[in-house]
């Protein structure tokens, strides 16, 4: 496994405080021309056998963490993912030099990367988020529990200071009721969606409107089926919730476990 000499020559001339920002590892050498990466730097694919490490040479004195760097990281990876399988590396990962790229990354983990890339071939990640229309769901909760309706009547007519304990109790009951609805609504959505996916990975969600936030890995030939199913679900549920589908995007959620993504 060797890095292309032309690339090495080019980069050795760079000043000392520069290093390699790593976006990810791809299965073949992708076309990087015209892509702008973090710090507006050019994006290079360092070919190494059947793999390619996608990097930008960056200025270490000004580490990338601005809004545009975050956007560039995801834009580079999502672009790569459109032309073939890619393993996204966590944002902000910087290697010192080409030796590290070759020894720490490719030699140490080449086999792992190859098998992961094979699993990701022909598959695409999406993120699905469902959110309640808050007012609708809260009305359901009030209508569905007499204790909540009573507490609400009582706390509404009292000054805040005089009803503190009751308001905490009300909020707790409402929060639990919403949680139960959430569990059952999420289950209903997943029953329709998961059969169309290869793998899924729940993501953190918060807020009272949160129903589900989940990453989905889909075979490319099932994407339109997924879109149609979600369109139907969104139409059927639109009075109570909204459903968003983000993607296609690089498989950020399906490269973390060394054990592989398919059971």
């Amino acid at each position: 496994m060797t890095l292309a000499l032309s690339e090495i020559d080019e980069v050795l001339e760079e000043p000392q405080r520069r290093a390699y920002y790593v976006y990810g590892v791809a299965a073949k050498t992708p076309d990087m021309s015209g892509l702008k990466g973090v710090q507006e730097a050019g994006v290079h694919a360092l070919p190494a056998g059947d793999l390619a490490v996608v990097v930008s040479l960056i200025d270490l004195d000004r580490p990338p963490r601005s809004r545009s760097d975050l956007l560039a990281h995801s834009a580079v990876l999502d672009t790569l993912a459109r032309s073939g399988p890619v393993i996204p590396v966590q944002f902000g990962s910087v290697l010192a030099d080409l030796d590290s790229v070759e020894s720490d990354l490719l030699r140490a983990r080449g086999e792992e990367f190859r098998s992961l890339l094979t699993e990701l071939e022909g598959r695409t990640q999406f993120v699905m988020r469902a959110s309640y229309r808050e007012g609708v769901v809260l009305r359901e909760v009030v209508a569905g529990d007499q204790r909540i309706a009573d507490l609400r009547m009582r706390t509404r007519s009292l000054p805040e200071a005089a009803s503190y304990a009751d308001r905490v109790r009300l909020g707790e009951l409402v929060s639990r009721a919403v949680e139960e609805k959430r569990a059952s609504d999420a289950e209903g959505l997943l029953a329709e969606v998961l059969p169309l996916t290869v793998a899924s990975s729940p993501r953190a969600g918060s807020g009272m409107d949160h129903v589900i936030n989940i990453a989905l890995l889909v075979d490319n030939d099932r994407i339109s089926a997924l879109e149609e199913t979600l369109e139907d679900l969104a139409g059927a549920a639109h009075e109570r919730m909204t459903i968003r589908l983000l993607g296609p995007m690089a498989p950020y959620d399906f490269v973390g476990d060394p054990g592989g993504l398919v059971d």
């Binding site: 790593v22 990810g24 270490l60 000004r62 580490p63 990338p64 963490r65 601005s66 809004r67 545009s68 975050l70 995801s74 393993i87 996204p88 590396v89 966590q90 944002f91 902000g92 990962s93 910087v94 290697l95 959110s131 229309r133 808050e134 007012g135 609708v136 809260l138 009305r139 009030v142 909540i148 609400r152 509404r156 308001r167 905490v168 109790r169 009300l170 909020g171 409402v174 929060s175 919403v178 993501r203 953190a204 918060s206 009272m208 409107d209 979600l230 369109e231 969104a234 139409g235 639109h238 009075e239 459903i243 968003r244 589908l245 983000l246 995007m249 950020y252 959620d253 490269v255 973390g256």
Partner: protein, 145 residues
């Protein structure tokens, strides 16, 4: 009206398919995700991590219960019945949910990530390998109602 909004967004359907991801979505998508490799330097994103965790903790706190209670008590504003009900509901609930809860969290994330050039110039420190995390400023709770 909510129904029209979602129709516009997705070109005829109810499924919301944003054409490109905004900063909040991108942070959400890439934060803590991706392959972890041995690195020389890991650029610090500690501020964002802390805020995300903070947003998760808040879910089970008294503050959250009070927010739920407040939202529930606001309901009488649109308990009018009749044909207008759904319209009023849809509009108000959308404003409430995106503006108040998730909006606040997104706002905090954006504030910390910064993005204007001035802030970028100031953030010159970087986290060398295994250096303990710098403590981020506590998130401000914005009481926008």
């Amino acid at each position: 009206m909510t129904v029209q909004t979602s129709q516009r967004r997705s070109g005829g359907g109810y499924l919301d398919r944003p054409a490109s991801s905004g900063l909040a979505d991108v942070i959400d998508i890439i934060l803590d995700k991706g392959m972890v490799i041995d690195v020389y330097v890991r650029v610090s994103l500690v501020g964002i991590e802390i805020l995300t965790i903070d947003a998760r903790i808040v879910i089970a706190s008294v503050d959250t219960y009070l927010r739920f209670a407040e939202a529930t008590n606001r309901l009488d504003l649109y308990e009018r019945g009749g044909k207008d009900l759904f319209d009023a509901l849809g509009e108000t609930s959308e404003r409430t949910s995106s503006g108040k809860v998730s909006g606040a969290i997104k706002g905090v994330k954006e504030a910390i990530t910064g993005g204007d050039e001035e802030e970028e110039e100031e953030e010159e420190e970087q986290e060398e390998r295994r250096r303990p995390a710098k403590k981020a400023p506590a998130p401000q709770r914005t009481g926008n109602r």
